[in-house]
Symmetry: C2
């Protein structure tokens, strides 16, 4: 994997760059639609390509439980399995495993938990998590991190951060032994909302030859103000020449704030989850299609939008599909929402290139912020 | 609407033709995917076009209840509403209304029933059913017919057939007053499995200047043998120069049998319903993706198939999507199934053109019949 910063914004820390993986170029800042189960919900790979998507993120933990990483490997790896020949990032599943809370047993060796399917006990270690991702054959892999909820006691956050560091070293060893040309391993900065813990996490991870740095443990209930604060002191200490990835974020306003601070990569379920719920992102704010005001509204979701959904269908038709329980409704609004995020990132990159990111962000959020940041 | 028979098969009553509607040419024999709620379930109009679909059938009764025919009319008619600029046939909803059985009150004037939504009483008359279809703006409309279940007493079947005739005359009057250039109204032959009733129905409907003739009240439990018998004596008495439409059929074997008897049009929910249930039509028989034998099967659904699903995904991947509860599974298998029916009809037309329909049918069903006609 190679990463190049090609342009820095004149008035902020925002940057334009390119990540080159074995499956193509990913222009940054990038938003990656989530394909947990090796599918971006409701959309075909052909539709994702038409939307200009260059990278998606799948989940190693989920795919290991079902259909099993050996099945995916034997079928040619995750790209061939899901018919997606562009970049695939895999999350380790640390976040998901630690969300199981009551059923898990954490030791230095790893985590034991009950499978949500048959209920049998499953054991995941840092080594195993990398072996899964190597079997999947993803382009960018994430280490097994110890995630803590918010709020979190300082000593618990510290222990989790230190364990994440030790686990990342074990991940790195397994990765270095097994990686094939161009595959990458990132680190994940932990430390909850404690500045000294975050900085120690950055320092420790910096000792390893990792290909990029993610900020984990945010957008878990700490609120937008605290998240911004953590990003402020964390991002600027990450290496300039490595991609920076804010995991699980998020809302347009939060993404653009983070781009301004120098973050390069994002992922979130929002465009597809909201799409399935009948909630559309538009330049004029959020549209909830179940609202009766759209019953006879012949306008597209977003007047200026060039996506297939907006070129073809009215709000009234989409609303009808939702009320009729038609699956196509979910597909069409998911498609529009992913397009919305793609366009937002494309415009952000153009703004960085022309040195006008601050102005772009301000104008974009003028409307968005009122709608989304409540 | 214009219909031309361009070629008759040398050894059977099968024929190749073209229906020209205000929204294009429909090559016959044709299979029309069902879009009850103004959407062919899980598929976009763009995907249907790519599959070569030239006509779909929507349901006037359903669209009248939701979103209401005035809404569709005010939004530019059903074509614009659903983003489909090719031919739209609308069924009247007679079949659906009479399926409500216990809650309906039938009189010579029409049918009163309880809306399945709010429960309020709704009244449909022959005139109203045509007014709905005129508001929708479909290309080919169906009259309000009195459908009877199977088995059915002879006097009940006779009364329903005669009422269908009287209602069709009223439909025809309303249609003639309201139709716009090129719109068509078909008749629906009723009479259950009683030969003299069917023939009387054909004779009576023949007195009207209708644009085509459908055979209704079949594929309702009478079984394949009785259906063939009814078609045998009914189809040959229908006018040669008008399209013949076998409603709600069906399985590949039944379709090809009917093509051989001179039927031109078909519709059925099977390709999309089976697609959503994980059941795929293939040249080698039915594939049920929940079956464990497909767990690591890297072959496409159908080896010789050129559809997007088969070009891109393995059976193992599709099975994974179904087990993961992913909506994309339904889309991909529906897409394949519609493609299968499109190809079957395209091959059937080619066979008629080259005078080899009998041979084509025999070879096609060699495999299919074993699988589907049980």
């Amino acid at each position: 994997m190679r990463f190049r910063v090609l342009k820095k914004d004149d008035c902020s820390k925002a940057r334009y760059g390119e990540i080159e993986t074995p499956h193509g170029i990913v222009k940054t800042p990038v938003f990656m639609p989530v394909g947990t189960q090796a599918t971006v919900k409701t959309l075909t790979p052909a539709q994702l390509k038409d939307l200009g998507v260059e990278a998606i993120i799948c989940n190693a933990y989920h795919l290991s439980l079902r259909p099993g990483e050996e099945v995916v490997r034997d079928l040619g790896g995750v790209h061939r399995f899901m018919g997606w020949d562009r970049t695939v990032v895999t999350d380790s599943g640390g976040y998901q495993v630690f969300s199981l809370r009551n059923t898990i047993r954490v030791s230095e060796e790893g985590v034991e938990f009950s499978s949500p399917f048959a209920g049998e006990r499953v054991f995941l270690s840092p080594e195993k998590v990398i072996e899964i991702q190597l079997a999947l054959g993803s382009d960018i892999m994430m280490p097994f991190d110890h995630c803590v909820p918010y709020p979190c006691e300082r000593d618990v956050a510290k222990e989790a951060m230190l364990r994440t560091d030790r686990w990342t070293r074990r991940c790195h060893t397994t990765f270095s032994d097994g990686k094939q040309g161009g595959q990458a391993l990132f680190g994940i900065v932990q430390g909850s909302v404690f500045k000294d813990l975050r900085l120690e996490s950055v320092r420790r991870l910096g000792e390893m030859d990792l290909d990029g740095y993610a900020v984990g443990g945010l957008s878990v209930g700490e609120g937008r103000y605290l998240m911004k604060e953590v990003l402020d002191y964390t991002i600027e200490r990450l290496p300039w020449d490595k991609p920076r990835y804010l995991m699980g974020v998020g809302l347009p306003a939060d993404i653009l704030d983070a781009v301004e601070k120098g973050v390069d990569m994002f992922d979130c379920v929002l465009p597809t989850r909201n799409g399935r719920n009948g909630s559309a992102f538009t330049t004029g704010g959020k549209i909830k299609l179940f609202n009766s005001v759209y019953r006879e509204d012949q306008r597209p979701l977003d007047d200026g939008c060039g996506c297939y959904t907006c070129r073809t269908f009215s709000r009234a038709y989409l609303r009808h599909l939702f009320f009729a329980g038609e699956i196509l409704a979910m597909t069409l609004v998911s498609l529009h929402n992913v397009h919305f995020f793609q366009e937002m990132m494309s415009d952000a990159r153009q703004a960085v290139l022309s040195g006008t990111f601050g102005k772009f962000k301000e104008e974009f959020l003028d409307v968005q912020e009122k709608e989304y940041s409540k």
